[in-house]
C-alpha cells in the first residue's frame, strides 16, 4: 500500500468526517450550559464525558488523519525498521 505513489487521496472521507466533526463541536459550544450542567452531576453521569471523548476522537481523529494525507503529509515510504 505504501509503495504506490499515486494513491487516491481520501478527500471524500475528509469532507464527511470534517462536517460531522464541525457539527459535534458546534453542538457542544451552542449547548454548553445545558451540557455542563448535566455532565457536572457526577455519579452515573460520569459516563457521559467519557463517551463524548470517544465519539469526538473517532470522528475528529478520522478527519485529522485524512487531512494530513490529503495535504501529502504521510509516513515514510520505506517504513522505519523498529528492531
Amino acid at each position: 500500500m505504501a509503495q504506490s505513489t499515486h494513491r487516491k487521496k481520501p478527500v471524500a472521507a475528509m469532507i464527511v468526517m470534517g462536517i460531522i466533526s464541525i457539527a459535534l463541536y458546534a453542538t457542544l459550544l451552542a449547548k454548553q450550559d445545558l451540557i455542563n450542567s448535566i455532565f457536572a452531576k457526577g455519579g452515573w453521569y460520569a459516563l457521559l464525558p467519557i463517551i463524548t471523548a470517544f465519539v469526538f476522537s473517532y470522528f475528529h481523529g478520522s478527519f485529522t488523519g485524512s487531512f494530513w494525507t490529503v495535504l501529502g503529509v504521510e509516513a515514510s515510504k520505506k517504513k522505519m525498521e523498529v528492531k
Binding site: N36, F39, G42, L47, P49, A53, S57, V73, K83
Partner: protein, 360 residues
Amino acid sequence: MHDLAANFINLDAITILYLFGVGFVGGLVSGFIGSGGAFVLTPGMMSLGVPGLMAVASNMCHKFPKALVGAMKRFKYGQVDVKLGVILGVSAEAGVLYGAGIQEKIKATYGDAGSNLYVSVAFVVILATVGGFVLYDAWKTYKSGNANSEEKAGKLAKWVQSINIPGTMVYFKALNARVSILFTIPLGFATGMMAATIAVGGFIGVPAMIYVLGAPSLMASATELVIAFVMGVGGSLKYALHGMVDIRLAMIILAGSLFGIQLGAIGTTYVKPFMIKVVMGLIMVIVLFSRGLMVPVYLAQLGLIDKLGDSTISLLKNSSFAIMIFALLLGAFIVLRAMWQGRQAERLQQATGALEHGKV
C-alpha cells in the same frame, strides 16, 4: 462537588484558539515521544481561571482519546506492543491512585505550599536524574556515529531479561524476550505515581521501557500511548464521578491535539530512533529548570526561608511558565525539523533512484 459547576469559565474566541494551539503543540510532542503537553496545559488552564482540580480532570479527559488515536496510528507502523502497554497501564492505574493518596495526605498536613513543594522537588530530582541520563545517552549515540544502527538492550535490560521467575514470565514483542511481570509491575506503578504527581507519567514510563526492559525507543514511546490511554480512562472516570471534567475545555484541546498527534506519529517514521531520546531528554531538562525556579517560592510560603517580595514571586512564576512553554515549543520545533529533513532526504533518494533507473 456540584458547586464546581459555578466555576465553568466563559469561552471566548481567544481562549478557544489558545487551548487549540497548546493542544496542537502538546499533541505533536506526545505523538512523537509518547507523552508531554500536560505540564503546560494544566497550568495554562489554571491561568484562564479554571480551578486546579478541574484543569487536571479536563486535561486527563483530552489525554486518553488523544493517546488512543496516537496509539492506533503508530500501531499501523508496527511500533506498539499492546500487551506491554496494557500490563504497564493497569499497574500504572494503581500507581495513580497511590500517588494521588500521597498528594492528598501532604496537602492535608502541609497545605498547598507543601503539596506544591513536593511536586516541584519530585520534578527536579526525577527530571535531573532520568532526563540527564536520557540526554547523555542520546549524545553518546550521536558522538559514536551509530545513530543509524540498531538499538541494543543495555546491561540492566539484559540482566532483567535473563531473570527467570517461573509462573511470572510473559513474552513481549517490543523486547523480543520474556520478562517477569514482577519487573513490569513496579515500573508501571512508578509511571502512574509520576502521572499523579507531575502529570507526565511518560517521563518515567518511556525511559523505564528503554533502559530497564530493553525496548527500542520507537516502540517504547509508542507503547507509552497505550499506557496513557489506560491510565487516562480510569483517571477521567474518577474525576467525572465528582463532576469535575469541563468537557468543553477537554474537547477543544483535543481538537488541536488530534491534528498534532497525527503529525508527531508520522514524524517518527522519518527520524533516527535516538531523536526520541533527544526530544524527551531536552524537554525534561528544560522543564526541570522551570520547576526549580518555583522551589524558593514554596519554601518561603512554608516559612523555611525568608519571605520573598511580590515582584520576585511574580517574576519567578512567569519565568517558570515561560520556560515550560519554551520546552514544549523547542520539542515541537525539533520534531518538525527532523521530519522535514527526513522527507527531503527521502525525496532526494527517490529522485536519484528514478534518474539512475532511467539511465539503465
